[in-house]
Each structure stands twice: as C-alpha cells, then as structure tokens.
Symmetry: C2
Subunit: 144 residues, 2 copies
C-alpha cells in the first residue's frame, strides 16, 4: 500500500487529506454507491446511472479506484471481452462514508429521493447493521 511516490505526492500527513486525494471528487463515491447498493458490475451498467457520467470520466475514475486498490477488475466469466468491477475490502470499508453522506444530504437537501444506499440504523444497532451489510458485500464481491 505504501510507496515513495505516494508519499512525495501527498499534500500533508493528514489522513483526511489522504482520503480526499483518493475519493475527493464528484464521481468516485457515486461509482462506489453503484457497486455497493445497486448491484452494478460492468462499465455499461455504471455508465447508465442517472447522473450520466461522461465515458472519459468514468474510465479515468475506474482506473484511479483500481490503482488505489479500492476496486479490482476481472474478466467477466460469462462474457470473454467484458470486465467486471468489484469492490475490495478497502472499498467495502467506505460504505460507512457513503451512508453518512447520504443521511446528511437526506436531512438537508430538498427533493432527494429514489436513492440507493439506504441502511436504516439507530444509535443502538448501527454497528450490527453496518457489519452485516459489509459481510453481504464481501460475499457478493468475492472478498475472502
């Protein structure tokens, strides 16, 4: 995970800054939303989302997420020339960030609806709900 290039490029030693260098843009967490909550796995499925991501941006973000070991690409066993994009453990661990962002926007942004990423928890069972969902994702994305 660590290499000297990465260190040289970092803005600072701050973990929050490092996280934003990796997923601090308008698209990366949306792609992860689709992999986490919509069952999407292919380039075509990801491109078909409501936000109409441009194909060059989608391609660049997938490369970047793969380079950061947040997703991995593998050939689709059912379609020789197609790839599947799957979450790694590191990617699955971002589920809390995505759900917290969703809950925040749901509280404050007007007119949001029909959005994937709804994990219902309360102050007592958050840990259990999150753990169970991550377990489900590990199974679906082949993370052992």
């Amino acid at each position: 995970m660590k290499n000297s290039d990465e260190e040289i490029c970092r803005r600072s030693q701050c973990a929050i800054s490092a996280a934003l260098e990796t997923v601090g843009d308008k698209w990366s967490l949306l792609i992860l939303r689709d992999l986490m909550f919509s069952g999407k796995r292919t380039y075509g499925e990801l491109q078909a989302s409501d936000e109409k991501i441009a194909t060059n941006i989608l391609a660049a973000r997938l490369l970047s997420l793969e380079a950061s070991s947040i997703i991995r690409k593998m050939p689709d066993p059912d379609h020789g020339r197609r790839n599947l994009y799957l979450l790694t453990e590191k990617g699955i661990d971002l589920v809390a960030v995505v759900v917290e962002l969703r809950q925040w926007a749901e509280k404050y942004a007007a007119d949001v609806s029909s959005c994937p990423g709804q994990l219902k928890w309360n102050s007592k069972n958050r840990h259990e709900v999150l753990t169970a969902y991550k377990k489900k994702l590990r199974k679906e994305h082949g993370v052992i």
Copy 2:
C-alpha cells in the same frame, strides 16, 4: 433550503449525488476539518494549513460552503476588518463524514499521522461521543 435553481442543476434525485455536488472535492471537507477540529476561524488561519491551499481556491470554497449554508461568515468583533468563519448546524452534522473518512484512511493509507479529527469511539459509544462533540461544536460556533 430548497430553490428551483438548485433542483434544475442537480445531476439526479440521489441524496449521495447531491452531497457530492456540495462537498465532493479535494478541499471543502479539509476546510471543515480545520473548523471542526483545529479551532481555526479566520481566512489566514485556514490558509496556513499544511496542505497549502491556494488563496483563490480557499476563497471559492468558502463562498460555496457559505452558499450551501454549511458555514456562515461574520465580522470578527475583535478586528473590524476581519471575518470569522463558523459552522452552522448543517456543517456540524458533517462531522461524522469527516471522522469516518479519517478512520478509513488511517486504516489503509501508509504514513499518515499528526492529523486532527480524532474522535475515539467503539461500537458501543459512537453515538454518545459524536453527540457530545457536536454539542461542543454548537457552543463554539454559536449555533443555538
């Protein structure tokens, strides 16, 4: 909170997408980090952070955060020509997102340290720790 311009500009009705349109960039959550965890309040203090944000980007992000009612600007009672930047309730509610991002990067990014934003919690007391910290921020930022 709601206006028709905002709706027209949205990429989709998804709350996660709406959140990323507001804070999905490399700088906004860093500015909030400084307001939440470093006690910074002025333009000069925010500009002095380790990440060396360019003055035009800082100015643009502050305007954007203010337009989204995540922060508010008020004249510094002690220095007539200086402004203070304070979190609103909406901004304070992003503390969970910032801390989750920090915890994720701390787990996976190499060589991160000396970073503000450390709220220590476990699966049992997360809600209490977060509630107490938000209460502290409300007091510090004059949110009634």
